[in-house]
Symmetry: C2
Subunit: 247 residues, 2 copies
């Protein structure tokens, strides 16, 4: 009976033709964030094809059934094509699907968020046509393709939300970095100032950074600062309490 059922299933699969069923369009989009001169930026691409040709949009597109083993691989591929980066911080944010967001009909997009340091990507991004880093506020104010404005807002919210109890902004910095730089990254992401002593105590007592030397002070003025490098596995670290509830 089990084997009978198995033969049954085999026959079903042999006769199965994907063309017979109409699936929604499935895309993957990535909101790639970085810090440039201390400000949050997001990577946008000007659409070369219909629909919404000419509009700026999040990098993304269809899944390549031949190339992509899984959704996250598809997201990583899009990201690699636009930035050259192969191992960024990459996290799934959410999936949006309905019959109105794309003129072609029912469509589904899986949204990812990525973080990376700017310096190593700058040259590559410059070389990719119709692709550039936008200051986040400008991007949010702009009229993006499809529902990408909402997608961007969702990614941004995930970023700040998670920054409250993790060390996500680490991934937007070049290593090594100083604690002041890290704090500024947090402040930019959270959109609010943090208290120096509390911040340093929180980060240092979490034991997630290795001290790796000293940096000359920025602008040549002031005391040199200790440099740190993230320890392995720090993306898993979750604080028991949220940061920045004072004032």
């Amino acid at each position: 009976m089990a084997s009978r059922d198995h033969a049954d299933e085999q026959r079903f699969l042999d006769e199965y033709n994907p063309q017979d069923y109409l699936s929604p369009l499935v895309t993957v989009d990535v909101a790639i964030f970085t810090l440039i001169e201390g400000r949050l930026h997001v990577l946008l691409v000007q659409r070369a094809n219909h629909p919404e040709r000419g509009r700026w949009a999040l990098p993304g597109g269809f899944i390549d059934a031949g190339q992509d083993q899984a959704l996250s691989a598809a997201a990583a591929r899009k990201l690699r094509q636009k930035t050259g980066v192969t191992a960024p911080y990459l996290e799934q944010v959410c999936t949006v699907g309905d019959n109105a967001r794309d003129p072609r009909g029912w469509s589904v997009t899986v949204l990812y968020m990525a973080l990376m340091a700017h310096a190593p990507t700058a040259a590559f991004v410059d070389s990719v046509a119709d692709t550039r880093w936008w200051p986040l506020a400008d991007a949010m104010a702009h009229d993006l393709a499809f529902d990408h404005r909402q997608l961007l807002a969702a990614a941004r919210q995930r970023l700040s939300g998670k920054t409250a109890y993790t060390v996500l902004p680490v991934h937007t910095l070049d290593t090594p970095f100083t604690l002041t730089q890290l704090q500024q990254a947090f402040e930019e992401v959270l959109g609010a100032p943090l208290e120096k002593k509390s911040f340093r105590r929180r980060i240092l007592s979490a034991d997630i950074l290795d001290e790796v030397g000293e940096a000359p002070p920025p602008g040549g003025r002031g005391r040199p600062a200790a440099l740190f490098r993230p320890k392995a596995g720090l993306e898993d670290h979750a604080f028991v309490r949220v940061v920045g509830e004072g004032k």
Copy 2:
């Protein structure tokens, strides 16, 4: 030029035929949790069709382009069909997609998690064929269809993770409830005992419940307990700190 482009796009859309493009299969699955006699249960359905016929699986299936306006509507529909419940707590968990999870080829599933009280659903669920509440541990130990074991694990993890800083388990109880019942729901979800005083202080000072009377003690023994009903908007409440870090 703008209108030229617009006409251009119109022509593109007129000529667009979805059949020309091969999209992955898209399904929506829902992990529906409830408490029965204090223990976490999940709703499973025995598959009536190939593939994986006869295996138990999470309720779910294809999007109905005619009926479903959006992904969340599709999830709500599946849930309504199996439980009769129209307004449960429903949250998107994640989306899994690859070329190996379904024998028919590249497939994507959007996983939702739902919470509901048991009593109002019991009769309806009983009346639906091939559908029943499984104790969570049994379900996890069972050989479910496709990758539903992993999906179930992901939903379960979201549930306990979020319970640490919200009041999610409220949605698994009939209203009104006592604080002891709520605490027991938390403990079952978290898999660890909580301290009575801390728990009560935390919940009460959050000001998210309305006191609505008194309940006779369970089993007729002991002091009667105050009854509470959740205030509107309590799903948004997030505590600044995680619960249950002691011992």
